[in-house]
Subunit: 439 residues, 2 copies
């Protein structure tokens, strides 16, 4: 059996991890595939910097066409990230008849449909396990052994930066800005962390996951996305007081009416929910299938080595197809036959029904509670419990925190808008969604 040849586009941190894993574990990979897997070409604009791995300089090129035009190369690994030129390169690789492995969640979330269609037409595989959950093999499981299930939900913690920040805010009582600054210094947050802390990265991953679980195209722009920048130490302390922890969750659900809920936002979950103990840079993804029931996957959601594990896993799976001499069994990139992919309607956020924690900053004067409770009651929002912690003298605002029973989000927003028109309200009122019964 001749070696299988791959080409790598993008020789950054993750790319160097892939190179090292293919070198260090060549023996075990050969035992499992029956073939050698050789990185024949590595393309990057910078081919002089030291990446801490030994590569034959003859492999390196600044001309990506040396990969597309090489008939020996059957697998192209795209690790440059972002939309362009990644999209052009992936489509070119497919057009050249090469299988593609990518970790590019942004690309797939926005242009997956176009890429999968091109791949199906050409009869090549597009694999992307590393796009969600780093080294956690959750996408393979959904497409593979769990495929006989209808999934009711998929949710989880999918961004290590946000989880690291929220974990430290919870454990140390620290404030968002301070932890973020420190996280940057320690390398747990990018110099520009916007994509992470605003929830965009999590939404990219949710788009990929929800497509797989529900067999649907997802309009990325329609995913409700709210990051963690507005979460304060006060929110976290009140949540703890009520028995909850705040996590940035990605949530996908198919409701009984056939609509999808696809949303990313800070979420209060009970402290005894297994996700509540997923701390630091770890990720966890939970699925509910109609037969398998709840299943959870946990592991390192980012980093050079775990991400390399997922990418090399995809390369191995494709190599097995090549060795078997077939157009892959898995060519359908969503695990569904292409012609069956639907476009399920997304439920508008106003229609979401959940419990809420409401937080008001109000003057301590007669009529405040009546005003708040009245606006809630008028819209059928019922109160489960309430805390008004401290009582100041004079005209200082005191926090009032209310836990509601299940309510429409639209009603909550209307009630808060009405309440915020009162003079006794000192700052914009806040709400955090609660998920008590995520299955």
């Amino acid at each position: 059996m001749t070696d299988i040849k791959a080409g790598l586009i993008g020789f950054g941190n993750i790319g160097a991890g892939v190179v090292r894993m293919l070198q260090d574990n060549a023996g075990v990979i050969r035992k499992k595939t029956g073939t050698g897997i050789v990185l024949k070409r590595i393309a990057d604009l910078d081919i002089t910097s030291d990446r801490g791995v030994a590569v034959d300089p003859a492999c390196l090129t600044t001309d990506v066409n040396q990969i597309f035009n090489d008939p020996e190369i059957s697998i192209v690994i795209e690790l440059i990230g972002g939309y362009e030129p990644a999209k052009t390169f992936v489509l070119k690789a497919i057009a050249s008849g090469k299988h593609v492995v990518t970790a590019n969640k942004a690309l797939l979330a926005l242009h997956g449909d176009e890429i999968y269609t091109a791949a199906a037409a050409k009869g090549v595989e597009v694999q992307y396990e590393a796009a969600v959950g780093g080294g956690i093999p959750v996408l393979s499981a959904i497409k593979g052994n769990l495929a006989g299930n209808r999934f009711g939900s998929v949710f989880g913690i999918m961004n290590g930066t946000c989880n690291y920040i929220l974990t430290r805010m919870t454990q140390e009582g620290a404030d968002f800005a301070d932890v973020l600054q420190n996280a940057k210094e320690l390398g747990y947050a990018e110099p520009d962390p916007t994509f992470d802390i605003e929830g965009t990265d999590t939404a990219h991953k949710l788009a990929v996951l929800a497509s797989l679980c529900f067999g649907t195209r997802i309009d990325f722009g329609a995913i409700y996305t709210e990051g963690i920048t507005a979460i304060s130490g006060i929110d976290i302390r009140f949540a703890e007081q009520f028995g909850y922890r705040i996590k940035l969750l990605a949530i996908g659900k198919q409701t009984d009416d056939g609509q999808l809920e696809v949303r990313v936002h800070p979420t209060m979950i009970p402290q005894d929910n297994p996700l509540a103990d997923v701390n630091g840079v770890f990720n966890a993804i939970r699925l509910a299938g109609d037969f398998v029931g709840p299943v959870m996957f946990y592991g390192r959601g980012a980093g050079q080595n775990p991400t390399a594990s997922a990418i090399v896993g995809d390369i191995i799976e494709i190599s097995r197809s090549i060795t078997a001499g077939v157009r892959s069994r898995r060519a359908a990139p969503l695990g569904f036959q292409d012609e069956t992919i639907a476009t399920l309607p997304l439920k508008p956020m106003e229609e979401i029904v959940t419990k809420f924690m409401l937080r008001f900053a109000a003057l301590d004067q007669p009529g405040v509670l009546a005003g708040i409770a009245g606006a809630l009651g008028l819209r059928g929002i019922s109160i489960e419990s309430m805390v008004q912690t401290t009582r100041h003298n004079g005209g200082q605002a005191v926090p009032i925190v209310i836990m509601t029973h299940e309510a429409r989000e639209g009603s909550i927003r209307e009630a808060l808008a009405e309440i915020d028109r009162h003079d006794f309200i000192c700052e914009k009122s806040r709400f955090i969604r609660i998920e008590d019964n995520l299955q």
Copy 2:
């Protein structure tokens, strides 16, 4: 595309679940495979009892040869369990050129090697995801996306009956015998629970997992197997006092010297270890790969529906191979090429090094601690902490509990044998292994 035909041997609880899943989810399965999957024949000695699922009576047969001899049937599902006639049937199915799906961990743990060899020679697949962890797709992950890793360890909670009993003993302070009796009444334990509570079922699963992770044959008889029948409420309370929880763990490790540790026994793990919160009938399996790092899988480890999910998942994967028109990419049943499977040496239990909790029942008299500490010190066993809780008047035994630093198990056994020869020792001294740093 014509439908793929399967034959089921064993129409019990799990078999009925498979029938129902193939019926209920036929639509989604077709969307994911492009074909229908039809159960053409169901063989069982009892073809009259109602299993709660609708089947065409013409499908039912008491003659298993109607499955082997039917050229239309390409997949045989073996769900009768036990060694015989399951082994004969599986080998006959393979000899008839049929792919095999089984949930039979006992069969694979003892006769896997013979079955895999026969399957490889015949070019058919043997899939067995349901054999370990019920619906949790951990075997697929090891053979699939995680395949590029060298695994340092695999361990977890793999028996729902034991975990249910230990969970209730921990939460209620109840005794083993009482909980077991109640578990039988509730259907969480078999009428004869020996295989579960003595650890045999867990050892079967560990044999399968360790073979996959380390690419080795495992001599099932050489697996150290200790169940939970000797665990008392006192053990659990002392463990809690020291910050630990007691779980029946299956542990597989490859040590630096190339030897394997493969063992099943009650184990004390820190209360903040994620496995400590895996309660009731849930299973969790944790792996450590050299690149992926720690990964954990969690879900329902038994039951009709989760087990059906894993079996149907295997059927789907095989169907995709058949549809692709190939001898499977995955024919190597251990994920390794057959000729590379090793027979790694198992480390003798006396050579295991870990921490221990020792519990003595001793008379409260001078010289006791000196006698115990002397026997330990003589063998280089150092004491981390000690508790002597109550002081009785007169000649009653008091419990003395000692936490050791890391020590050889052989040394511990020798020390306890010496200590037990003293007159001040009132009953056989006990030890429970501690795993502080399972990675």
